[in-house]
């Protein structure tokens, strides 16, 4: 099939992610924390909890609740981001929560809340995915009981080509159809906990994209695992 897109702007192979850096336990005041950087997108996550949930009437005697807050620092985008929650950040907070919820054993924390705060210090596409990777590490770092980790990266379809970890420049390619597909997955079962898409692509291409990111997600899961164990090396 004829395609104008034969090379990625930064020279990566279609199935390669950008370089990744991950570290656990970076915020001493938090119960758990992590830093996750992919290309030029950097996210910090801090977990506080389980802690008492206020207001009292929101407490659930059968289970704890997970509360996620995604925020971009004012200097983390091209133009300055006005401080405070936006509709976009509220939506991302919600999908982040839904991405992590299936693995957290919230029944172990009745009446309590586990707060997860995600802050992006710089962004170049894939920010919600980086946030989820950092948040998952921070939850483990906080000793929260979880069935598994959650790992996340975005897939892309650019002029009918499947790519892994679509970056800012690729998102804005003109003249061809581009689709950006953030995905989060539980590595051991391959269950999907986050799936969004914007752009334009055929159904078969999207399904192929979801399959195509699995090796990258497994690689990222291994990086998250190493970072957590690294913290405890004597």
């Amino acid at each position: 099939m004829m395609t104008k897109f034969t090379k990625r702007p930064d020279g990566r192979k279609f199935e390669d992610t950008r370089p990744i850096e991950a570290k656990a336990g970076v915020i001493s005041k938090a119960d758990g924390s992590a830093f996750f950087k992919i290309g030029k997108t950097s996210a910090y996550a801090a977990v506080y909890g389980p802690r008492e949930l206020h207001p009292r009437h929101r407490q659930d005697p059968k289970t704890g609740i997970l509360r996620c807050n995604y925020n971009m620092m004012p200097f983390s985008g091209e133009e300055r981001v006005r401080p405070g929650p936006s509709r976009r950040s509220k939506e991302i907070s919600m999908v982040t929560e839904k991405a992590l919820q299936p693995v957290v054993n919230l029944e172990d924390y009745p009446n309590a809340v586990v707060d997860v705060f995600v802050e992006l210090t710089e962004t170049d596409a894939g920010s919600r995915c980086a946030g989820i990777c950092a948040a998952s590490m921070a939850l483990a770092d906080a000793g929260i009981t979880m069935k598994d980790m959650v790992t996340s990266v975005s897939a892309g379809v650019i002029d009918h080509n499947i790519v892994v970890d679509i970056d800012g420049e690729e998102e804005h390619i003109e003249d061809v159809d581009v689709a950006d597909i953030p995905i989060a997955m539980i590595p051991s079962t391959e269950e999907i906990t986050l799936l969004q898409m914007d752009g334009k692509a055929k159904k078969e291409e999207l399904l192929k994209a979801i399959e195509a990111v699995k090796p990258a997600l497994k690689k990222i899961a291994e990086i998250q695992r190493k970072a957590l164990k690294e913290k405890y090396k004597g």
């Binding site: 915020i27 005041k29 030029k40 200097f75």
Partner: protein
């Protein structure tokens, strides 16, 4: 507030020692790094003990204030991110972060750090806007001083961007620095009982009686001050606090210059 703990801190201070073993006039080890945020036109990270914060500069082009048509615009923002400390909550800015932003702003503005006339593009129509944001990632005290240092380092690190039709071309950086003329260093002196200390930790901030932030310029003149805390200060106190602030500003200035030279 636990009076017992405060008495304990006071007793230790009388013997010249603080809870973490520091002397009264001792700052924790400070690390300053610049150019740490790719999306900011200028940035810096400051680590001091367990406090870590980021400062970032964003540039834009806008209309000047009507009473200063050929001056660029500068503003400082700060937020107590809930990520940084269990006591910081989500929600609209608390008075502490508003005060921090305004005190850092005052130091930079009154110290005439930025030559705003050089930021004029077209009088009355287009000027450069310099937006400085200071945010803690991990918080254990002394936001004003460390935030002020980070803001200065970020300003020195910043480069102008290209313009096209009076619109900023983000990502197209030039080699041109911001027009920086001076570096006022803010130093907050904290009074606990009859003792004066600098660089308070979170625990020390909770038991302070009063504090005085003094922004000091290169020639030891003062360009901004702010008193905080519930207790009163005598003129003798203020005199001593100003002297201590001036002395410490010289040390901090050296640290900052060393970091910028790298």
């Amino acid at each position: 507030m636990n009076q017992d703990l405060k008495n304990h801190i006071n007793e230790a201070l009388k013997k010249g020692i603080r809870l973490d073993g520091r002397k009264k006039e001792e700052f924790r080890k400070i690390e300053i790094e610049t150019g740490v945020v790719a999306t900011a036109e200028g940035s810096a990270r400051v680590k001091c003990g367990d406090t870590e914060l980021l400062a970032g500069i964003k540039l834009d082009v806008g209309t000047p204030y009507p009473d200063s048509p050929d001056d660029g615009v500068m503003m400082v923002g700060s937020e107590l991110l809930p990520l940084a400390n269990p006591e910081f909550e989500s929600g609209p800015p608390k008075i502490q972060s508003i005060e921090t932003a305004r005190v850092i702003d005052r130091g930079i503005r009154e110290g005439k750090v930025i030559d705003t006339k050089k930021l004029c593009i077209e009088k009355g129509e287009h000027v450069w806007m310099v937006m400085i944001d200071v945010l803690p990632i991990n918080y254990d005290g002394n936001l004003i001083d460390l935030g002020g240092l980070a803001a200065l380092a970020a300003l020195k690190n910043a480069k102008m961007t290209e313009l096209k039709d009076n619109k900023v071309q983000y990502g197209k950086r030039t080699k041109q620095d911001l027009p920086i003329r001076s570096m006022p260093i803010p130093v907050t002196v904290v009074k606990i009982g009859e003792n004066l200390i600098v660089d308070p930790t979170d625990a020390e901030e909770k038991v302070l009686d009063a504090r005085l932030t003094v922004s000091v310029l290169e020639d030891d003149t003062i360009c901004a001050m702010q008193k905080g805390g519930n207790a009163t200060l005598s003129v003798k106190d203020i005199n001593e606090m100003m002297d201590l602030a001036i002395k410490k500003s010289q040390e901090l200035r050296k640290k900052l210059e060393e970091a910028l030279a790298k």
